[in-house]
Amino acid sequence: MGKNQKIPYLKEVLLYFSKIIILLIFLSYLVSQTSFYNQSLLFVFVVFAAFSFNIFFIILIALSYAVCFFMTTLVLGDSNLLLIYSFSIFLNTIFMFIYFKYKYKFKEE
């Protein structure tokens, strides 16, 4: 990096990371009071949620959390973290694209 060059969008990225930390602390406390707490899934949820607080997007990724949590408790068991982690990220990525499609549909209309 040259002397006069700055890392572009550093402020946005730092803001994003701050959102992750705040959300993680806040939600960890909140969800741990209930019986739906899973640290790994919550972490994946927070990484995606910090992108946008749009209600439709939050519903989508909360759905992903619910599906993965259901899989963890009822089907796979807590030992298979690899599959849960990976599936959760995959589902969230797909939901992210569904949200983009919804967003562009509105933009074009």
């Binding site: 969008y9 690899l82 990525t93 694209f97």
Partner: protein, 426 residues
């Protein structure tokens, strides 16, 4: 693809045995068993390998395409915005093409520098040659509306049934138009993507981009070309059948990606012309590179979101699916894996941190060695293998950062047009 490359792929597969042995020796297997985040890395290692071998498999099957010997009239479109430094070289390379039947259209998209004066003085100097060779050089001067709008203006004025689009900061090899036009061997081919070579000017960052471009051409696009599903026709050099492209989509960040998807939607094929070479300038500063990559990533996310991929035939849908599965998903997985580093530091778990770094670096270097050796077979640049560690540590971090920023920006819904990088004389 020759048998030699196939042997290299098999050797690459066999090389995984000492790699696993090394990981075992370093007690990484215990680390993988005990640390959840490491399992995620193992999972994307698995995904990356499937991706590499899927592409390599298509390369093995790839065949030489029939060549057309006809010379239909071609319109070369050069959209330009503030390109006073490079446009003369671009025009020179277009003018002295071996292809016999073409016109050149320069679209000045409201440049605020001396682009227009440079083009006018070029025409004056080459007047005799232009008349002698009966080459029509048209200038369109319009207010600034973005690259896609500039291309549309050029398309409206074009007399040819085929359009060759070139970036004003790029220059062609003298056979480029002839070579690229050879690939329009049947009516079903709607567009042909050229081979883009990065001019790196002894810069390490430039050299890494040159290797990346070569991977894009010889590995990804060459394998996509097998089914005629090249997803991106690069803005630097592409040829289009005029009837296949209605308009270049305005208001998008990557009009080249968008237009190729529209062509595929119409049922046309898009193939690669590896022998049609175009030299292009690449950003030589990290900051410029990050900005360019953010625009590309934002553009691909935008195109991916705008188009439905289930209506374009099985293999196009498959490419889209792979783009999601192997393009975005492992990046998100990698990004989430990186959160492990501060977690290890906070918890004082330095042994696992070391294991994490060893696992990440050794795997990345290993997989890129396989990739680079396949690409070096085509580019004849064996010294690129030495650049693997730098590529993994430096270049991949830039790309990962750009993907992250692109996602943040696309959620915010930013709109931008021409992506400008610092130009230099070549």
């Amino acid at each position: 693809m020759s048998k030699r490359v196939l042997i290299k792929i098999i050797l690459g597969l066999l090389a995984i045995i000492p790699f696993i042995y090394l990981l075992n020796y370093l007690n990484i297997s215990d680390f993988i068993k005990n640390t959840p985040i490491s399992k995620l890395i193992v999972f994307w290692i698995f995904f990356d390998f499937i991706y590499i071998f899927y592409r390599a498999f298509l390369l093995v099957l790839n065949k030489r395409r029939l060549h057309s010997k006809e010379h239909p009239f071609v319109s070369i479109l050069i959209p330009a915005y503030n390109e006073e430094i490079c446009i003369e070289k671009t025009l020179n390379s277009c003018l002295f093409q071996t292809y016999p039947n073409f016109e050149i259209i320069v679209i000045n998209d409201g440049s605020v520098d001396k682009t227009l004066e440079v083009v006018n003085s070029f025409i004056k100097r080459q007047e005799y040659y232009l008349q002698n060779k009966k080459i029509n050089l048209i200038i369109i001067d319009k207010p600034n509306q973005g690259k896609a709008a500039a291309l549309n203006s050029g398309k409206d004025k074009a007399n040819g049934d085929f359009l060759v689009t070139i970036d004003a900061d790029s220059h062609l090899s003298f056979h480029a138009v002839e070579k690229i036009m050879n690939y329009f061997s049947s009516e079903e081919i709607g567009a042909v993507a050229g081979n883009i070579v990065a001019i790196y000017k002894d810069s390490i960052l430039g050299y890494l981009q040159k290797i990346e471009y070569e991977m894009g051409i010889y590995f990804i696009r060459a394998s996509q070309s097998f089914f005629g599903n090249v997803l991106v026709t690069p803005g630097a050099l592409s040829a289009y059948r005029k009837s296949a492209i209605k308009n270049f989509e305005e208001g998008t960040l990557t009009e080249d990606f968008d237009s190729s998807v529209r062509i595929l939607e119409k049922g046309y094929k898009i193939i690669l012309a590896p022998d049609a070479i175009c030299y292009t300038q690449v950003p030589l500063g990290t900051s410029d590179l990050i900005r360019q990559r953010i625009r590309w990533q934002e553009g691909s996310l935008e195109v991916f979101s705008k188009h439905s991929f289930h209506r374009k035939g099985f293999f196009v849908s498959l490419e889209w699916f792979f783009l999601l599965l192997f393009g975005f998903y492992p990046l998100m997985a990698k990004f989430i894996s990186f959160f492990a580093i501060p977690l290890f530091i906070i918890s004082g778990d330095y042994i696992n941190l070391l294991h994490f770094i060893i696992l990440f670096l050794s795997y990345s270097v290993f997989s890129y060695l396989i990739l680079f050796s396949i690409v070096a077979h085509y580019s004849h640049d064996k010294k690129s293998l030495l650049a693997v560690p730098l590529y993994v540590i430096y270049f991949n971090t830039i790309v990962l950062y750009s993907v992250l920023v692109a996602q943040i920006l696309i959620f915010k819904g930013n709109n931008r047009t021409w992506g400008k990088i610092k130009r230099y004389h070549i």
